[in-house]
Structures are given as structure tokens and as C-alpha cells.
């Protein structure tokens, strides 16, 4: 089974994220980066599936040159190979542009299963996986809290408000995994050293057959209009219990139509 994991490399969780007021984009230059912890869960799940059923795990990452450290992290975990989409022409792509680039890279080799995090832990749009499935022409099984494969059938437990739904589809398909699906393994020394020998293929936008109308700043149809801090929370209501506290709380909740 050939599994492709779409991953993102994001600022370290210990870094305070800054927004460039001019571009309204996250400042990534000269910021320490790591493999997105959400994507690491997709890598882990893919590794577990190939350990059980055989096959390969290829990690695809779109990002600047400094994304290499995150790619090496995925390879050190045990991924077989990696594809790095790195090109100034891809910078500023919106979610659809990103999905187009990922789809073009994935189509370059046969694949059975594409795995993604439900959303990245820096921008949280959650748009790319659905768009990617559409572009690849495969069904998306989303919000997986577990993934099992039997023959060509993939079954997931799909997280829902009341618990989970059991959903199945035939390969090839795309699965998005939730935060709670697993605890990713960490790279060992052997893994780190082994990762240095693994291949990282690099593609530019032109090599993917994509032009400025589709990717990059010029191809982006999403625009970030404003970025700001959330409004400060108003002070809460303090009810002193002078013997009528219960009634006051009940009246307060009734006003909000909560009871």
C-alpha cells in the first residue's frame, strides 16, 4: 500500500507567532520550525498501517527552504521518502492553490491512500483535505479517530458530536485524522541518522504544471482582509449568596434562555 501523507511545517509551539501587518501573513522567516504536531499524527498512523500491511509512506510538504527540518523529522520517524514543493512561485498560495500543488505532486506516482491532519496547527482552515480529495477524484473519509484496512476497504471511526460513526470506502481514498488518534513516535538517533540518506524530491510550480493563475499570490482567490486580536471578554457577573443566591442564578440563566 502506497501511502502519501500531506504535512505542513509550522513554527515551533514555543514560538510566539507574529503577523506581518503589511501582508497579514504569519512571519515564518527566521522562525524555528518543526513538523506540524497534527501532521505527525497522520505520519504515525500511516507508519502503523504500513507496519501492519506493508508498503511505503511518502511525505509531501509545501514550504520554503527552512521546511527541510520538518521533512527530516518525518523521515526520522520512519517515512520512506519525501517530496518538497519549494518555489517562490508557490509562496502566498491560498488553500486551493496549496491543494492544487499537492495534488499535482501526488499524481506523479501511484498512490493508494492519502492521509492528512484535519487541520494544521498554525492556520486552522481545514480546507485543503477536502479540496485535495476533489482534485484527486477520490472520496474523503474525514475526522478519523481510528483507521483500519482490510483488503482494499478502509474503515474509519468518524468523530461526531455524540460519539462516532463507522464509515468505509474502497481505496484509493483520502483520510483526515483527528488529534486524538494516536501519540506519534519520536525520532530516535538511528532514525535521525537514517533520515539523512533518504531521498527528498523537489518540485517547482512549473514542474508540477502550475502557473501563476493557479498558485502563488496571483492565483489566490482567498484574501485575508484583517487580522486582529479577539475582543476582550466583558467582566463576569458575581452573585453574592445572601440566601437568595440560587434564585438569582436561576433568574440569570433564565434570562439567557438556558433554563
Amino acid at each position: 500500500m502506497n501511502i502519501v501523507v500531506c504535512a505542513k511545517v509550522v513554527p515551533l509551539s514555543s514560538v510566539t507567532i507574529r503577523i506581518d501587518p503589511a501582508t497579514r501573513r504569519m512571519v515564518r522567516k527566521d522562525v524555528s520550525q518543526e513538523l506540524d504536531p497534527q501532521a505527525a499524527k497522520a505520519v504515525e498512523e500511516a507508519l502503523r498501517l504500513t507496519e501492519k500491511h506493508g508498503g511505503s509512506v511518502t511525505v509531501v510538504v509545501m514550504g520554503g527552504e527552512d521546511a527541510t527540518i520538518g521533512i527530516r523529522g518525518a523521515l526520522a520517524m520512519g517515512a520512506t521518502a519525501a517530496i518538497h514543493l519549494s518555489d517562490p512561485a508557490l509562496a502566498g498560495s491560498d488553500a486551493l492553490g496549496t491543494a492544487k500543488a499537492l495534488a499535482a505532486a501526488i499524481r506523479k506516482a501511484p498512490f493508494d491512500l492519502v492521509m492528512c491532519a484535519t487541520e494544521s496547527s498554525d492556520s486552522y482552515t481545514g480546507l485543503v483535505p477536502g479540496q485535495l480529495a476533489q482534485l484527486l477524484g477520490v472520496p474523503p473519509l474525514t475526522f478519523a479517530t481510528s483507521v483500519t484496512v482490510e483488503g482494499r476497504t478502509v474503515t474509519i471511526k468518524r468523530q461526531s458530536e455524540g460519539g462516532y460513526d463507522v464509515v468505509s470506502a474502497e481505496l484509493p481514498l483520502l483520510v483526515t485524522v483527528t488529534t486524538g488518534i494516536n501519540e506519534p513516535r519520536y525520532p530516535t538517533l538511528k532514525g535521525i541518522m537514517g533520515a539523512k540518506k533518504k531521498e527528498i524530491k523537489r518540485y517547482t510550480a512549473a514542474e508540477l504544471g502550475l502557473g501563476p493563475a493557479e498558485v502563488g499570490e496571483s492565483g489566490a482567490r482567498e484574501k485575508v482582509l484583517t487580522v486582529g486580536r479577539p475582543p476582550a471578554r466583558p467582566a463576569g457577573t458575581i452573585i453574592q449568596d445572601d440566601g437568595e443566591g440560587g434564585k438569582k442564578i436561576a433568574a440569570f440563566l433564565a434570562d439567557l434562555k438556558l433554563i
Partner: protein, 64 residues
Amino acid sequence: MTQAPNTQALDEHMKEMVLALHAAVNRAMPHLKDDPKLVDQALRDCEEILDVVLEGNVSEWLAR
């Protein structure tokens, strides 16, 4: 300021080591009480990485 190429490779290698240590500790910390086997393994992995760093055989790291 542009880094000398060999310094850049060393810098990247050290970052990978630190990230691996960070990940091992993060994995072990929530299981200090419920999974001593996992914690022991993480400690051994950290020790292995730190031993290699302390050995300081830079040419070997960069030759790989």
C-alpha cells in the same frame, strides 16, 4: 549574516538532535506515572542522543 556552509549543516544537525530530545521528553512526560516502560525507553533514547552530542565527533555527523 550568511552562515558558512559547514556551520549551517552542523546547525541543522544540532536542531534535529534538540527536536528529537524535545519530542522524546514530550512523549514521556504525560506517562510518568502510568507507563514506566515508555518513560525508560524515552530516557534511554535521550541518553543515546546526548552521548553522541557529548562525544562531539562533528566530522562523522556531517559525513553522513
